[in-house]
Symmetry: C2
Subunit: 436 residues, 2 copies
């Protein structure tokens, strides 16, 4: 498998970020990183506007160039504006919580805009001829009673996507007994005093995208930063990054799996050659459905407890990081940023190849059965979902947003030997090395 | 609410049981109760025939009278034959495991036949005019490597039913560490020696029926008998019954909930006036989805650890049973039999009223969302599912058979105030007393 199988990014949107192009209300996030406490970043300057400003049909189709023709768009394309240039993230004088809070919103916007752009692109002809309007991601904001808030961008039953949810949450408050228990179980005993009272801070962006076309794969992403602070203190006793991305096809296109893995491997390799092999295996191990004896999909990367040495080393393998990275929290943050911002390059080129390819009703039915497996993993095994459901006051709509719009369960359905369906299952039972 | 709201059973099929009317292969079950060990009951006399004998279209429509017109069927109706008369179940000289093994098959057949009969009835006109053939329950048999076997009756995508699964399993073998741990957690420490090695025996029938029509409710049933026997001994150290039935509508018809509850209340009352209130509340408590803050449905009954005094009293409330019942295992078995055999009376009259009433696409969509909640309960909370998924070698196809054929999840879907959908949710948040 040669590296040339990675899709050229020249077919993708040409991002050009200018905070002035952000919709009303969003500029705050791009420039609000100086707030003393991270949650302040998410206070709209007095406004309770939670819906994106309604676009007129003319807006929708005149302000966006057709972005995927040849990559030579002349007009600026705010729907796919990609804030590559960091604003506050490079400022090492700012607390990490503030920088991560700003970053997850930037990542969210980049992905939601790419989803919107594909919906628009897919209706380009119909829109010109029939005046059809695309469905775009709907934003809604929520506030957590115990502290913090979040912003969800969700598209349902679009032309390309069955369901796409890109969720940001930046929350803080007392660390619940359940959270502390989970932290102890994960090896953070060393920094948690028996009688200590702790506060937590968490900023993350999580995303699940389920396309309509059974040839097009589902994608998942999650990048998060957590802190535990002892009551009355300022400096966290523990702070770490976690996250990853993975791909779940209903039909296997090897070149899609290779492309998805190759993009993220390149990001990993630029930081440490040991990252990708470790995080790829971690992903295969995590997204495994024991009761079905198969992986959820063709994987990607997964990591947790990624920390710098000056806080605490939780996992053995962290010790193998270069001393530079172990000593520098900002270096890990840079890695997480580059992972998050590379998702559009990982996934959108695949979608552009697959969203409109022909399929049969039988293929759609197979996709629905695979959706059923996705639901099984998320509800039975996913640690995040389990933890969320067990947490009083957790936002159930956000937790369940990862589930597909539709799913199906048939009794005793086994694909015919030698079929394309059986080919997928075979790969799910024996993870492959996709990237070179 | 008067008792007259219970639907008259005269509109239902008139059962008349004769073992000679059973399909080939089934007679073994009706007469095989004398086997020394229960699993022997399930050995087909040398045959590996697992499929019901294929009926010709003429068979399908000439051998069945149209059963639901006026209840005055002249011909015998094997498809709805209801083996009310016990064959071996009354013989107190037989071990309970043998009697229960025979009974669960009888119950399974009664329900599967009623499901088939409704599919046939629903296509009566079409069949006469167009020669359409109904889909009937497909039987498949499985063998458990560690000991025992099962028979599944499953219908998918019929005319009336989206999915109907009636599953019997009669299994035995070494009691796993997980099972023993669960038994200890449930208070059976008193009879389990620290270093003891135990065998288990379990016979049960479980059923979930999901109809197509959103006006028609989903129904669930499970009745089971378990034994723990110390290695090398004959007499069980613990033996108990568990089970129940419950109804899950997408749209509330109060008279349906009343009828379903009234039938099972009458069965309970005939044994002990304290049964129904206790078991009704137990059901409301058990089929509750904490993360949605609502019940799965409008309830029914649920009980567990139902035992006679001479074995072991596990639960406080059992002590309140009359001394006659506490001293007589057979009395409890009779109660379980009457519960199981009354299901057809509980549910089929409701189905006959609802399966063909008009509905809109919006109603179908609401039903699909309710199916999603059903999946959430079963995968996240149901103890049986959790235990099954955690058990190595468990039969995954049987465990997942309870899931609907199709389900749906929408982000932030809340029914409009005052709507029929909101009316259902209101009742699910505050369980009602349905029976008088």
């Amino acid at each position: 498998m040669s590296k040339t199988q990675r899709y050229s990014s020249s077919t993708g949107p040409k991002p050009s970020f200018d905070p002035k192009n952000l919709p009303t209300g969003w500029q705050n996030y791009a420039i609000g990183g100086g707030a003393a406490f991270a949650v302040a970043v998410f206070l709209f300057s007095g406004k309770k506007s939670t819906e994106r400003k309604e676009l007129t049909p003319e807006d929708k189709f005149s302000k966006f160039t057709k972005p995927f023709d040849d990559g030579s768009s002349k007009k600026s394309a705010p729907a796919v504006a990609t804030p590559i240039t960091p604003i506050v993230e490079d400022d090492n004088s700012k607390p990490m919580r503030d920088k991560m809070a700003v970053f997850v919103r930037k990542m969210q916007k980049q992905i939601a805009d790419a989803v919107d752009a594909l919906e628009i692109e897919s209706l380009w002809q119909a829109a010109k001829e029939l005046g059809t309007e695309p469905k775009l991601c709907v934003r809604d904001e929520w506030i957590r009673a115990e502290g913090g808030k979040g912003l969800s961008c969700v598209l349902m039953d679009g032309n390309v996507f069955e369901k796409a949810g890109v969720l940001v949450s930046v929350v803080h408050g007392p660390a619940s007994a359940a959270l502390i228990k989970q932290m102890r179980a994960r090896g953070k005993d060393g920094v948690l005093e028996e009688s200590g009272v702790y506060k937590m801070f968490a900023a993350g962006c999580s995303m699940v995208i389920h396309p309509h076309n059974p040839n097009a794969p589902t994608a998942h992403l999650n990048y998060r930063y957590l802190e535990l602070v002892k009551e009355g203190e300022e400096k966290p006793v523990a702070a770490w990054f976690g996250g990853g991305c993975d791909l779940t096809p209903s039909y296997l296109f090897e070149e899609d799996a290779i492309h998805f893995h190759q993009v993220i491997k390149d990001v990993c390799d630029a930081h440490d050659k040991e990252y990708y092999p470790k995080f790829k295996k971690w992903c295969d191990d995590y997204f495994y459905i024991p009761h079905r004896n198969e992986a959820r999909g063709v994987g990607g990367i997964f990591f947790d407890d990624l920390v710098s040495e000056n806080i605490y080393i939780f996992r053995k393998f962290i010790e193998k990081l270069s001393s530079q990275e172990r000593g520098d929290h900002n270096e890990i943050f840079k890695f997480v940023q580059q992972c998050g911002l590379s998702f559009v390059d990982q996934y959108i080129p695949i979608m552009k190849k697959r969203w409109n390819t022909p399929f049969t009703p039988e293929m759609k039915q197979w996709q629905q059965l695979r959706r059923g497996r996705y639901v099984e993993f998320n509800l039975v095994h996913d640690r995040g979902t389990k933890f969320g459901l067990a947490t009083p006051g957790a936002r159930i709509e956000s937790i369940m947003c990862s589930l597909p719009l539709t799913a199906r369960w048939e009794y005793m359905h086994f694909p015919e030997e030698g079929s394309r369906e059986a080919e997928l299952v075979k790969v799910l039972k024996t993870p492959k090395d996709w990237a070179v």
